[in-house]
Symmetry: D2
Subunit: 301 residues, 4 copies
């Protein structure tokens, strides 16, 4: 079938390629003239597709996605479907679907997992929308998803796809933190002398074997002490949203929150909170503080 | 080769069976006459094996293992090797190895993962000990481990095997908690209408695919709302030890600790800490407390 | 001076009383005819005050406060000032102030702490607003606050008062949880035989003495084992908002979050997350689960 | 009465002074000739006291205390009493008391709180031991404790004093962390423009007023942005022990643990765990890492 893809970056570009390999006709657009775009405007993209059109939006979440969906809403026709495959918050989906409903344009939100490996392995897809809208794009989903039974789910009405992807990413934070804490403890002891070997051994037969573990083993093969990188960890928003939704739903979420906070802390040059604790200890106990000037512990005057 | 196995429970019994299938000669002993034991005493077991003997101890950690190792120390000869395959704390290994060294009996600690699936899939093994001692038991390790490159590691000197297994289990706690928190959030929202379907879809192509996820999907296939079981979760000790070692090594371990505490809390009928918080809120704000007598919220007199 | 107070519940009623004792003229209104209201409508209340009027809103946060502020906006005159003394989220203040600005009506948000003790001890006040608006209500603040230097702060522009109060309550959650965890550990050991005595002793000379500790000691005097109450703890919103703002500002907030999650968990009959963990352990290890039917641990079939 | 004090550092020296002011006869000893010691050996100290002697040990916990108690055990007579006022782990007390019992020497463990303020304000005391032994030292306790009803407790048998002090310090960690997290959030927002003012206002009339809050206000008066110190926070052991005892007693302790882990993290130049997370994100998503060499974010090759 024909499909338009807007956004040809690391993810969108590979997805276009995977769809073409599966025999679909892809019309790609990207704001950047340096991209491998097929058309130079949304109008042209819409013009190149036969109705009912399916247009996949794969641009950064937030304002870029909102602007793109709105502009598409003015160009598409009743019966067409927009799929937001980006990392949008599910609450945005509810707004988008509502806006497009008046124009009889369908809307599907698709959470996509798989990263840079998706081109070859396929992309796991969690989609939300009406049965009718999802059906219009099913051939696209079938081509993108991995081979086998799993890797695709129609999770519920509009918003369910991004909600599921958000939770997926929240879990991902927790899993990564668990492996990382275990790794740090192994690295901290003298008892275990082959830390990369231990992790490599875990990739078969253990309860904790996983794809993330495979990746950590790969990383340690390339850099056995992780000496080349710093422990600075960004976050893309979905971990934050997961914790916020947990709070909204009164769900205790201590482990995933711990993972999120560890990322926040990893990006601080110094912690205002720990300055306050240091100041307090100094006040009541005369405990030494590290002054900024001297950079070392010293007893306060 | 010949091997003695002490403890023929769920784990030891299956391991004996896997070794026999691989062509090894197993002499099994268990305290219980109802077991499938081959001999009725440790003396007989030692007598049935040719030197240098390899004896695998697979009994509960703590006193049972300590007693068994000590008794074996009195029966074995220089050059023999004891393997502790149970879930002992690595500090016990250091004591055992020291005691046996005087008698020139070797000692290897083996962390074993794989659970009830090990008979068919193989057992992942993390071992600690001298190169010489490990070599004596290598054919046994080769038969027990899963097929493929991974699933076995000589992690370091005595203690390294159990230390690695301890950390493995600590990570396991964290992974399970992360999936569980995500599951609870999915189950708490109305947006996602097919929770088991979402988890099943994650088993291919996603960043969070893992064997534990496969098992959770299986559990939800059998009981889609987990309505048949209660959220009471025991712990076998290795999670506690992992956190204790983290503290000993000054390693921040917030996510794995959260998983451990969630288990503790799951086993409390009521939380003394939360009683104290409820009492405090009542004191300063006149907030309603739930009295034990009435079982419902009420404003205090 | 004259002041109107809307909402004569536990807090508003006591504040009206404290203001009267200080010689101010209070005109009180409450929706309920059973209250000690002075007038039976907002119109009457406004009519009874001389311009420039100061009206203190002390109704539940959220819709009730929003509706009251909106209605007042239609009744008051340029130069009048509305004070929201409830537990509103600071983002509501920004909306209210904006709406009222067009009508030249001033707006001050006031976070109030002190609970049922405020009538006698005074209410700590954190206010946000313009210097001019705050000045109009200063006599009211002076009468409400405790004696002494502290207990009142003009924390910044509109929103600052409720933001400060929100953080105050978040800290309160953390403090209460810390005492509660310590209490539970004391109660769990056999070594300490006089737990209430230990807490009572801490109220003088220690680093951890505080008003909350005094209250916990009081509670234990009344019920030494806290046997009369259950560990069910509600939350009024400000703890949730504090954590949400921490996430918005990328501030690691592990201890206060732990306190919040402990409250969420205290209100669950059973934990879906821990059901999932129990199900997982059963899948990989054949560990016993507690079935709902039997209410006790049993090995699975 | 007469009392021997061993260890005349920041704590012991001030305690000796407070006892002298109360009219007691203090014989002080310290290893250091530069100290204000009255005698130059333990033998001399014991020789200067009349039986039954009371000797207060105030030296660093662990080996120094153990060595001092053991040496004293060889010098004292039946009926004498040793008080360990240091920050020993309560398990050490059990050993000490057992050793001394054979010699009919009494033993009391005393947890002491009050820091550098104790000389003027008094020291809060939590003691463990037999009624008889505690009675022998009661005049000393009475002189050291703050004025008023509270500030002293006979918490139980030997070990109870240090156990109570350990929990006191664990709570202290949690309280400090709660204030610190709240402080950081206030400092992170633009809404509140007078952060030190807000904290100062909280010292009267609020639910969260406390001595620690007073100290934080003092610290902010001296350095309003805490610009002069770094967020490096040591720990003296009792926080670690508190969490370990929580684990031993299966007590969920998430907030105090969070405080402990925040201290561990504050002392790391870089976090091995977060390196692992960064490496993982790079593996699956091609997310940028910060290389050590360049010190800035960059996309990996």
């Amino acid at each position: 079938m024909e499909i338009g893809i807007i956004g040809l970056g690391k993810m969108g570009g590979n997805m276009a390629e995977r769809l073409r390999r599966a025999g679909h006709t892809v019309v790609g657009f990207d704001r950047s003239p340096q991209s491998s775009r097929d058309v130079d405007s949304l109008e042209s993209l819409v013009g190149r597709l036969s109705a009912p059109r399916v247009v996949w939006v794969m641009v950064p979440a937030g304002d870029p996605t909102r602007a793109t969906v709105q502009e598409l809403g003015g160009l598409l026709s009743p019966g067409d479907v927009i799929i937001d495959g980006g990392n949008s918050r599910y609450t945005d989906d509810l707004v988008h679907a509502e806006e497009l409903r008046a124009k009889q344009i369908g809307y599907v939100d698709a959470g996509v997992s798989g990263g840079v490996w998706g081109l070859e392995n396929g992309y796991a897809l969690m989609v939300g929308g009406s049965t009718e809208d999802v059906a219009k794009a099913q051939p696209v989903f079938d081509a993108l998803k991995p081979e086998g039974e799993a890797g695709f789910v129609h999770a519920g009405p509009v918003g369910a796809g991004h909600f599921a992807k958000m939770v997926h990413n929240g879990i991902e934070y927790g899993l990564m933190q668990a492996y990382a804490e275990g790794y740090e403890l192994l690295a901290a002891t003298d008892v275990v002398t082959d830390v990369p070997g231990v992790l490599a051994s875990w990739t078969q037969g253990t309860v904790i074997r996983s794809w993330l573990l495979d990746l950590l083993v790969r990383a340690l093969e390339e850099d056995p002490d992780l000496a080349e990188i710093t422990g600075y960890v960004d976050d893309s928003g979905e971990g934050r949203w997961t914790v916020e939704e947990a709070i909204n739903h009164r769900v205790p979420m201590p482990a995933i929150s711990a993972a999120l906070y560890a990322r926040f802390a990893s990006r601080q040059d110094d912690s205002p909170a720990m300055k306050a604790v240091a100041a307090l200890r100094n006040q009541f106990g005369g405990h030494a503080v590290r002054s900024v000037a001297k950079g070392e512990a010293e007893a306060p005057a």
